[in-house]
Amino acid sequence: MSILTAPRQQGSPPREFGSGRGANIFRRWLPTIILGVILGYLVVIPLALLVLGSFKPTGLLFDPGFTLRHYIELYGNPNTYVLLGTSAVFAFGSTLFALVLGAALAWLAERTDMPGRRPVRFLVILPMAMPPVLLAIGWGLLLSPRIGLINTALRDAFGIDQPLLNIYSMGGMIFVQAISMVPTAYLMLAPAFRNMDPALEEAALASGAKPFRVVTRVVLPLLWPSLLAAGAFILVVGFTVFDIPGILGMPVGIYVLSSEIYFQSSPPAGLPNYGGISALASVFLVILFALSWYYQRQTNRSQRYVTISGKASRARQFQLGAWKWVATGMVALYFIVGVFGPLIVLAWTSLLPYYAGFSTDMLSRLTLDNHVALASNPSVLGAAVNSIVVAVVAATVVTLLSAAISWVVVRSRARGRKVFDMLAFLPLAVPHTMIGLALIFVYLTFTAVPVYGTIWILVIAFVTCYISFGTRSTNSVLFQISGELEESAHTSGAGWMRTFREITLPLMRPALIAVWIWVAAHAMRELSAALMLQGRDNAVFPTLLWGYWDAGQATVAAAAGVWLIGALFVFVILTAVFGRKKKGDFR
């Protein structure tokens, strides 16, 4: 066992921050105060204003009076229940589909002799470079009932009038959302398959159990906590995601929670009904917090399970026989469907003067006009610069803040550290359109902070959106670093600052780099919060892309999409390079 992962000694409980008493009481409360202010500002105030707004007649905080009118209207309106039902169908449907695909992929790659399983383990992170909004646009181009490439091809081949497949439907939304969550499902389930102690299966086989019984009685129960944790997480995403329902559902009138919030916040005429929106948002918040609480409980449980077998025994490999080529074919199909199909259609479309299907005629008309138009448009350059600035600043803030929060939560004995841990986790359960909405409330209320309509409100929104991911990563790495490494710095005469700078931060560095890259990549592709907070001067690349698509300029949107994917691929490859354990690394 390496030094870094040495278990905490029985005699080393968390240390108090400083060792103060009496006059030092201020120092002891300092981390509590600082983090309380930051997390209060980022998480508590927006959500509290959102909830408070639902009890105000106008929805605005400083207007007089209190009312339950918004809730009465909400519950009296049958559309509310339709919306609840639609959101649930979308979330549960896509979760189930993604779990089945992710588990199958994990099992094939980790526990069978499928040819090509090693490249799969690496390739599976590629779809992460594919923002959901572009996945949706790509599939819209492939399967739109009127102009979709596959539909037109099928129509020509079979001479059918009716479109065969329509991506602008609940089924289509579930399909695309599931495809986009498969890498997440895989990454959450693969360790469970990998670490499962083969002795447990062998023991069952040796006791005379048939293979099917081994799967139902031994393998599934062992996987159950990981499946539940992954399921709860994907379900939360399904309830909060905007991009896919926004692109594929809104045009045909299928609304889920996040798109409903967006739709109501930008009505065709007049002021938005902020009171009604926040009442709706508050109802969903309760559901989502319950879900994420369940998720956190499950992850704790599944980690306990996985640690049962820390042995280096290789898991039993299942012989697929003749089926192995079928399996490879299915996996290849997933990559075509999930990545290359939408990517190729986007690239193709971006080179067309107007939207059309694949044909030899069009080959001669391919043009770089769309790309040239983008490159010569000064507002595109501005959006690109904004995207980069926002991504870099948000990623840096999230990384440093996560390190600080985790240190207080994991290492110190500061008051309220458990509350901080919870507060940092909560934003996971809040749809990003809702975070955007909440920030509108905050900065319409406190106009003294002039960030509304600037890129800085985006930075604030993105930090709130991604602080839960950041703190989960930094928490787990701090748990792995023995506290004695910091204590020995103190007994060597180093004060708190020097210890944090020269011992704690360097030891956390690999995790911090991974967090930074992940947040930067996600901030660059984040559409929903940016769209909610869109103002005059804060266009970013995804909102620009959305604007082109919304205005019917599919070819220009595709060109912008190709650029965005190119930038994101760089990030994903960086993640792969930095995220992998290096030889001789101390982790």
Partner: protein, 381 residues
């Protein structure tokens, strides 16, 4: 000269992990500990796990904040009613059980860290690091990554890093317990030599009585957060005052007895004359080490001699272990090999007066806790 370390009435309350546990009566981890360590001493805190020895050491280091009491290092109060000196401002150095070598630094960087923290000039840092590495025979490894070293070498780095500061007080928290048996004995001797050479006052925490006996100038035996007894190794082994000390250090046999005048006791075997008894009223146990019994042929009567029957013998090279039934009580005699007895033989067992001691009896419930952990221990009540 004043002592290097003074601990007065130190209390550390157990901090409950959850609200549910908070309702149960909390037992202090350290319960009114008083200790004085003289300059240059090698002082050991010895006891079973959970006895409070590590908590005491960590309180001296400032890694724990005690509930009450006072700690002085070289006359300066580092913990008291109105004053808590943070760890990095105490004149100490510490070696941890896990060594706590920083994996992102080379050997040299590890050892130089305390001197850089003290903002010494570069030339002096280099000089002192070289000296420290020479002392632990690691000069050839200075530029290796610290993780590329074996366990024993990492241990030496940890030791060099601790002594390079030239702190007044060296704290060692079970530093040898992660090494294999052979290396442990080697390092034990090296540690002792270095400590003598440097003359640094050392507090050593261990649960290994052999380590404690061979290294220490003085030992404090701890149990349940309290100091049971303090003394030099020979005294604790040969003349313990408490039954806990007698059992925890070496093998011991104890029988509940009643004092019968100043120099004798009424025992289950009969009247036994004893060499000495501790002050106090008891209750007392009679304590004899197995190697101190004498065996005689049947009929060799006299004071402190009782006849019995050999029930079992086992030969282990240097010694023979002979179990004898006397008055229905089994006792173990350890004799130098060669003077064989066989099962069924009648023998006379002599309790030599100078090796018979009355020790203060611990409550039986307390003893039961530790009995399973100590091999060869027999408790007859």
């Amino acid at each position: 000269m004043n002592p290097m370390l003074e601990i007065r009435a130190l209390v550390k309350d157990y901090i409950p992990a959850s609200e549910r546990e908070a309702k149960a009566p909390a037992k202090p981890a350290v319960d009114h500990v008083d200790l004085i360590v003289e300059r240059g001493e090698f002082f050991t805190l010895l006891g079973p796990s959970g006895c409070g020895k590590t908590t005491t050491l960590r309180s001296v280091a400032g890694l724990e904040t005690p509930t009450s009491g006072e700690i002085r290092i070289a006359d300066a109060v580092v913990f008291g009613e109105r004053r808590v000196v943070p760890t990095h401002k105490r004149d100490i150095a510490m070696v941890f059980q896990s060594y706590a070598i920083w994996p992102h630094m080379s050997v040299r960087q590890n050892v130089a860290f305390p001197l850089r923290a003290a903002r010494l000039p570069k030339a002096e840092i280099n000089e002192r690091v070289d000296e420290a590495l020479r002392m632990v025979h690691l000069e050839a490894y200075a530029d290796r990554p610290a993780t590329a070293l074996s366990g024993g070498q990492q241990q030496r780095v940890a030791f060099a890093r601790a002594v390079v500061r030239r702190a007044k007080l060296l704290l060692l928290d079970e530093p040898l317990s992660n090494l294999d048996a052979k290396l442990r004995i080697e390092m034990r001797e090296e540690l002792r030599t270095l400590q003598r050479q440097l003359g640094i006052t050392t507090i050593f925490v261990t649960h290994d009585q052999e380590e404690a006996l061979s290294l220490s100038d003085r030992i404090a035996v701890m149990r349940n957060g309290k100091v049971v007894e303090v003394g030099v190794p020979e005294q604790l082994y040969l003349e313990p005052s408490h039954s806990f000390t007698a059992q925890f250090i070496g093998q011991a046999q104890l029988w509940p007895v009643q004092a019968d005048g100043p120099g004798a006791a009424r025992t289950p075997f009969g009247r036994v004359e004893v060499g000495s008894a501790p002050a106090g009223d008891g209750p007392f146990d009679l304590f004899v080490r197995p190697e101190h019994f004498q065996l005689h042929p049947p009929g060799a009567v006299g004071p402190n001699r009782f006849e019995g029957e050999v029930v079992k013998t086992s030969f282990s090279g240097k010694f023979a272990e002979i179990d004898v039934h006397v008055e229905g009580i089994q006792l173990r005699v350890e004799a130098l090999a060669g003077r064989h007895a066989h099962a069924g033989d009648r023998v006379v067992v002599e309790f030599p007066r100078e090796h018979c001691r009355l020790v203060l009896r611990e409550d039986p419930a307390g003893l039961a806790e530790i009995v399973p952990g100590v091999p060869g221990l027999e408790l007859v009540v």
